[in-house]
């Protein structure tokens, strides 16, 4: 891991963690309570930024997977797996925080609503990505298989979205990204954007650390087995 990358990762991490603390202070003490949903609505400021990061991360996985299959550059694969791990983490946060809100707002832990279904399936596509990666003897093959899963996943997501949207939507509609501008209270908007910044910085920091680790692991593996040679069995007398 180069010094520059480490420094950036550390700075993003400190800033991200700091902002996460700020968001929690805003959520618990500052932002006003939503009228119809009450206190439980405050999960929104954790839930929505996590979802945004989860999908952003999958975008990185998809682009890096395509580029890796094309160029076979180890750095691109390292970026893909780093983004996938971050994406899996934040998808899990979305899937855990959602039901708590849903139980109180909808009266059910889970409903078959398009965005929930899509996020759950995204989680399983990530799972397949990691399982495939880890279950080959030759790590190069695992990387290629994972990239194939990543590409198929991203091609399928629009189709999944269309098909699950067939069912009537129960999920709250958009309150920020609307053509006529956000309809959210300014205080809530501030809290939400602080959350977005916090989670994005946290993700980027984790991403850079993970990327550095992946590069080091790769360098060690390459150092042990020079190009084209099989690793020598240890403890065998010649």
């Amino acid at each position: 891991m180069t010094g520059k990358l480490r420094g950036t990762a550390l700075a993003a991490g400190i800033l991200g963690v700091g902002l996460v603390l700020v968001v929690h202070w805003l959520v618990f003490f500052w932002v006003s309570t939503e009228r119809s949903m009450g206190v439980v609505q405050r999960i929104f400021y954790i839930h929505v930024p996590s979802a945004w990061v989860a999908f952003f991360a999958f975008g990185i996985v998809a682009v890096c997977s395509v580029v890796y299959l094309w160029l076979e550059d180890e750095r691109v694969d390292a970026a893909a797996v780093s983004a996938a791990e971050g994406g899996m983490l934040f998808t899990t946060i979305v899937l855990v925080t959602g039901p708590f809100w849903g139980k109180i707002a909808w009266g059910a832990w889970w409903v078959w609503e398009p965005r929930l279904t899509l996020t759950l399936l995204l989680w399983f596509i990530y799972l397949g990505y990691f399982l495939v990666r880890r279950s080959t003897e030759n790590p190069q093959k695992g990387k290629k298989f994972a990239a194939v899963v990543g590409v198929v996943g991203v091609l399928d997501i629009p189709l999944i979205h269309l098909s699950v949207a067939w069912f009537r939507s129960q999920h709250p509609g958009a309150v920020v990204l609307k053509p006529e501008g956000p309809t959210l209270d300014p205080g809530m908007l501030t809290t939400l954007f602080t959350g977005l910044g916090a989670f994005t910085l946290l993700f980027l920091s984790l991403f850079m650390y993970r990327y550095g680790l992946e590069r080091l692991t790769h360098a060690r593996a390459v150092g042990r087995t020079p190009a084209g040679q099989e690793p020598q069995p240890q403890g065998v007398a010649s």
Binding site: V132, T136, K141, V148, V152, D156, L159, S163, W166
Partner: protein, 226 residues
């Protein structure tokens, strides 16, 4: 183009001949379909639920789960004694190998699909609606999409240490559109709805099959190349 088609034809003939001689995959999938039909008979109370109302879902689940049995073994012969190396060494484009395998798997699975419909007709006294064309379209395109995805992922899973157990984990999340449009289309046909209500399903199943086939044909080379 002619050469390309004759290459696909040759590979397809090889796969069908192997299946015709062993009948391994058709036999196991067919037995699965009939046995599931028997189990479904006891899985719900027929005095409370009319089989006609839930048959579409049951039929598609039988096709998908039964199909997994056969699809997981798509590349078994190629894996034995490195036969895949022989095919890869022949002057055939990688996508032709994939498309031939999809065609073979589709034909094998269609035999099982027809048997599944027969089993449900026989055991549950279903009637499948008047005009057979919409049903044929829904089933054909849905099965094609399923086979296109599972053939690609079968090539992946057969090269991992997890083998066939990995296949459903890779295929099912991606397969959701096929199940949604396939089941709802089939249910509407069973309920005797007009064709205009099924046209959207057929279009979406067609789009899925097309995307899956194109993606599979392009990505297959990255899976099989050493």
């Amino acid at each position: 183009m002619r050469e390309y088609l004759s290459q696909i034809g040759a590979l397809l003939r090889k796969d069908l001949m192997l299946e015709l001689r062993t009948r391994e995959r058709v036999a196991s999938m067919a037995a699965f379909a009939v046995l599931v039909g028997i189990l479904f008979n006891y899985a719900f109370d027929r005095s409370l639920v009319r089989p006609q109302d839930i048959a579409a879902g049951l039929i598609w689940m039988t096709i998908v789960f039964g199909g997994m049995l056969g699809m997981g073994r798509s590349f078994r012969t190629e894996e034995e004694e490195d036969a895949m190396q022989g095919i890869l060494a022949s002057p055939v484009p990688r996508d032709a190998i994939y498309l031939a395998k999809v065609a073979a798997n589709l034909l094998i699975l269609l035999v099982v699909v027809i048997l599944t419909f027969f089993v449900f007709w026989l055991f549950f006294g279903l009637h499948f609606g008047g005009d057979p064309l919409p049903l044929v379209m829904v089933v054909l395109l849905g099965t094609l999409g399923f086979v296109a995805v599972s053939t690609l992922f079968s090539a992946v899973s057969s090269r991992t240490s997890m083998g066939e157990t990995l296949l459903p984990i890779l295929v099912f999340p991606v397969l959701v559109p096929v199940v949604i449009y396939g089941v709802s289309g089939t249910a509407r046909i069973f309920a005797g709805r007009p064709i205009a209500e099924i046209a959207g399903n057929i279009r979406m199943l067609g789009a899925f099959a097309l995307v899956a086939l194109a993606a599979g044909a392009i990505l297959f080379r990255f899976v099989v190349e050493e």
